[in-house]
């Protein structure tokens, strides 16, 4: 059963990811991203990280991707991108080498240490997962938690700065 879940979710993740990369239309790419995010959420559930799975769906698949789509619509940039042309000839081979190399090297590292990784037993029961997370968040990581608020200030101020109307000659013309 777990294996089946794993395979299905993995398929979702990878198909979604590939869709993001290859679909010419940004809307389709966004949908691919949703698929990947759902797949990840499934994995989270499989790994007993229920709270994160929920957040993943709500924040990521819900808010973030919606935001993407919203921007796409707002700017009207939903025109397809012609992926058959690559102005920089070296770019795609390089991308494959870099991406493949990255994956391969990390996988190599992972495989090399797989015996020493911890036990695979499930850590916590479902309902205590949230509790444990909360406890951890408000004790060990309380500073980091507070720091996120500063981060959000940046986000807020940033949008204000970036979206404020400016008087420019270009605007006038």
């Amino acid at each position: 059963m777990e294996l089946f879940v794993f395979i299905c979710a993995t398929a979702m993740v990878l198909v979604g990811a590939i869709a993001v990369i290859v679909s010419p239309n940004p809307v389709h790419a966004a949908l691919g991203l949703v698929l990947t995010l759902f797949g990840i959420a499934v994995h989270f559930v499989a790994m007993e990280a229920h709270f994160l799975a929920a957040v993943q769906v709500i924040v990521y698949a819900g808010a973030v991707v919606v935001l993407f789509l919203f921007v796409i619509m707002l700017l009207g940039v939903d025109r397809s991108e012609d992926l058959s042309i690559e102005p920089m000839p070296i770019q795609r081979p390089l991308a494959v080498v870099v991406g493949g190399g990255l994956s391969a090297l990390v996988i190599a590292a992972v495989l090399r240490v797989r015996d020493t990784l911890g036990s695979d037993e499930v850590a916590a029961a479902g309902d205590t997962n949230i509790r444990a997370l909360a406890r951890n968040l408000y004790s060990d990581h309380v500073l980091a938690f507070e720091l996120t608020s500063v981060l959000l200030i940046v986000a807020v101020v940033g949008t204000v700065v970036l979206t404020r109307r400016v008087r420019t000659s270009e605007d006038a013309s």
Binding site: M88, Q91, L94, V97, V98, G101, L102, L105, A108, A109
Partner: protein, 642 residues
């Protein structure tokens, strides 16, 4: 008077300073008389010192006067010190004596020259330098004078510096002399390194004691000889002397005949113990150089038409005689010939100056002739000089030349033959000169129109101030031989070898060395042979130029001085200059080019690397990604897996 030794150089130095400060205000002729007086004072003091020394017994005829410590560093302690001994005083006597005469002459000769006082400024400086040269207690003081006379010679040769030829000649003299100076300096270095001193006393003492290895002594002697070759215009460095005739004639007389050019001979004589300690072939080199130079220069003199050029080559030739003497061990003879040569060559140069003066700056003998009528005193004195140099007894030149030939035969018959041939040539070309200038028809009349706007051109006799020195020198040329009469039977014992006895503490007695050789035994016959040679040379010249019995042989090759000068000039101006130019270009293109090349390389590399910075964010991501992969490979593969 010995303590007044410093006055000998100081007087002309004072003259120099006074003229430097007040020369323009003094003007003509006061500056000239001041300069002449200073040299005369110097002469007077020298005479005083001479008699002081003469009063001492022969082992105490040496006096050192230390003025101040000049260059004291560690072992090297060089004083500014003067040495009065028979050799230096002999030199000083004729330098100051002839010097004052020439100063006197110059007052007349330089009449009207806008730079009149400056001329005497240089002249006094020259006398000072020359005196430092001969009076120096060590090689460095001598070197001070040595370079000083070189510099003065440069100033005086290029005295009329607006003439390019004069300027070039001055430069040539200086540079050529410097080649010789290189040798003198190295000799000093070698001497100091070996002996720890550059004073003559220490060096010669060490040489006499046998403390110096033969090779070292040879090195020192030959290096000094290199200097002597430069200063005394021997082959291969004689080039500058004929050109030096660009200077005013008194300069030629004083510097390029009587004094400076003999400095080389003086130096070799001064260091004679070193030469004695050197390998046997060292004196031979000197003798051969002298002999070849003597013959070579005499052969050139035969075909010269410039009145001063003849005398210049003659000087080179006579200097060759002196080196022949030095190389044969006849130091006394060398000094003897130096003194007599100073008399008669100064006389003839001044005479030629008088002629040039009277001929309004004409120097070409082909435009002269029959001047004995117009310039009787000049002609008379010049003829005395001619007889002296030609080796006709009893004039001074005969005695000294004869003594040299005697020694030469004792050491090498081949050199003797060369000497004899040179003697014949000397008599020949001097007779030729006398005939062309003072006898025959007056060729100057036909060229009168060339000389300015005067309606009528007539050579005139010079003023008394110029003639007086001529007369004095003529007298000396006649009787100069008395200072070193040979031991011929007809000569009273008390009159013989005066110079040799006088010089004895400095130079090993002369004839004693060759006593017992066949040459010595045949000395009277040799004298006769020399006289015959001289007379035959004269006769030949009379036949050619006087009676026109024979056609003159004046090949262009000889007139061009065997094309040696031209060859050297061609080399210096051609390959030499090209090589220098090549080096300058090498510096600009290669050495500096390498530096600029690095800069260019930096710029071009930057330009190439810069193209990676395309501005496209995706390619940036590629670069970053590639970097990531490389870093990962290092960490995971190199450090982790391997």
């Amino acid at each position: 008077m010995l303590d007044a030794l410093w006055l000998i150089p100081a007087a002309p130095l004072a003259g120099f300073i006074l003229i430097l400060l007040f020369g323009r205000r003094l003007g003509e002729p006061a500056a000239g008389y001041l300069a002449a007086t200073m040299v005369a004072v110097s002469f007077a003091v020298t005479v005083g010192v001479f008699f002081d020394l003469l009063g001492n017994d022969e082992h105490h005829r040496e006096h050192v006067l230390t003025l101040f410590s000049w260059v004291p560093v560690g072992d090297l302690q060089i004083d500014m010190a003067l040495l009065a001994d028979p050799l230096s005083i002999t030199m000083a006597l004729f330098i100051t004596g002839i010097g004052s005469l020439i100063h006197l002459f110059a007052i007349g000769y330089m009449h009207g020259d806008p730079k009149f006082s400056k001329f005497f400024l240089y002249l006094n400086l020259f006398v000072f330098s020359m005196l430092m040269l001969v009076l120096g207690e060590n090689l460095l003081v001598t070197f001070l004078g040595w370079e000083g006379v070189g510099a003065c010679s440069y100033f005086l040769i290029s005295f009329w510096h607006t003439r390019p030829s004069a300027a070039t000649a001055g430069k040539k003299a200086f540079v050529t002399n410097r080649i010789g100076d290189w040798g003198v300096m190295l000799a000093m270095f070698l001497g100091f390194t070996t002996v720890g001193s550059v004073s003559y006393g220490a060096l010669n003492h060490a040489a006499e004691e046998g403390g110096i290895a033969t090779s070292t002594a040879t090195g020192i002697a030959l290096l000094l000889f290199v200097g002597a070759v430069g200063k005394s215009a021997q082959l291969p460095l004689y080039l500058w002397l004929p050109d030096a005739m660009e200077g005013p004639t008194p300069v030629s007389a004083l510097i390029h005949a009587a004094t400076m050019v003999t400095a080389g001979v003086f130096l070799m004589t001064r260091m004679n113990p070193m030469l004695a300690a050197a390998a046997d072939w060292a004196p031979e080199i000197i003798a051969w150089t002298g002999a070849i130079t003597a013959l070579f220069a005499a052969s050139i003199a035969v075909a010269q038409n410039d009145i001063k050029k003849v005398l210049a080559y003659s000087t080179v030739s006579q200097l060759g005689y002196m080196f022949l003497a030095v190389g044969s061990g006849a130091y006394v003879a060398a000094i003897f010939h130096m003194v007599t040569h100073a008399f008669f060559k100064a006389l003839m140069f001044l005479g030629s100056g008088s002629v040039i003066h009277g001929m309004h700056e004409e120097q070409d003998m082909r435009r002269m002739g029959a001047l004995r009528v117009m310039m009787p005193v000049t002609a008379g004195t010049f003829i005395i000089g001619w007889l002296a140099i030609a080796g006709v007894p009893p004039f001074a030149g005969f005695w000294s030349k004869d003594e040299i030939l005697l020694f030469t035969l004792a050491s090498s018959p081949v050199l003797y033959v060369i000497g004899l041939i040179t003697a014949i040539l000397t008599a020949y070309y001097m007779t030729r000169q006398v005939l062309m200038v003072f006898f025959g028809e007056a060729r100057w009349e036909s060229h009168a129109e060339d000389h300015g706007a005067h309606g009528e051109f007539r050579p005139h006799e010079s003023p008394p101030v110029m003639l007086a020195p001529l007369v004095v020198l003529a007298g000396l040329s006649i009787v100069g031989g008395v200072i070193q009469l040979p031991s011929f039977g007809i000569i009273p014992k008390g009159w013989r070898h005066k110079l040799e006895d006088w010089l004895h503490p400095v130079v090993e007695p002369g004839e004693a060395v060759i006593k017992g050789t066949s040459a010595y035994d045949a000395k009277v016959w040799l004298a006769v042979l020399a006289i015959v040679c001289a007379l035959s040379g004269i006769a030949l010249a009379v036949a050619v130029y006087g009676r026109r019995r024979l056609r003159a042989i004046e090949p262009q090759l000889l007139a061009d001085g065997w094309r040696y000068d031209a060859g050297v000039s061609a080399f210096m101006g051609g390959p030499g200059r090209r090589a220098f130019d090549a080096l300058a270009r090498f510096d600009a293109r290669v050495v500096d080019g390498a530096v600029n090349g690095v800069a260019t390389l930096v710029a071009s590399t930057s330009g190439r690397v810069r193209r990676l910075q395309t501005g496209n964010v995706r390619s940036y991501a590629g670069i970053v990604g590639a970097g990531v992969v490389l870093v990962l490979i290092w960490f995971v593969i190199v450090r982790g897996v391997l």
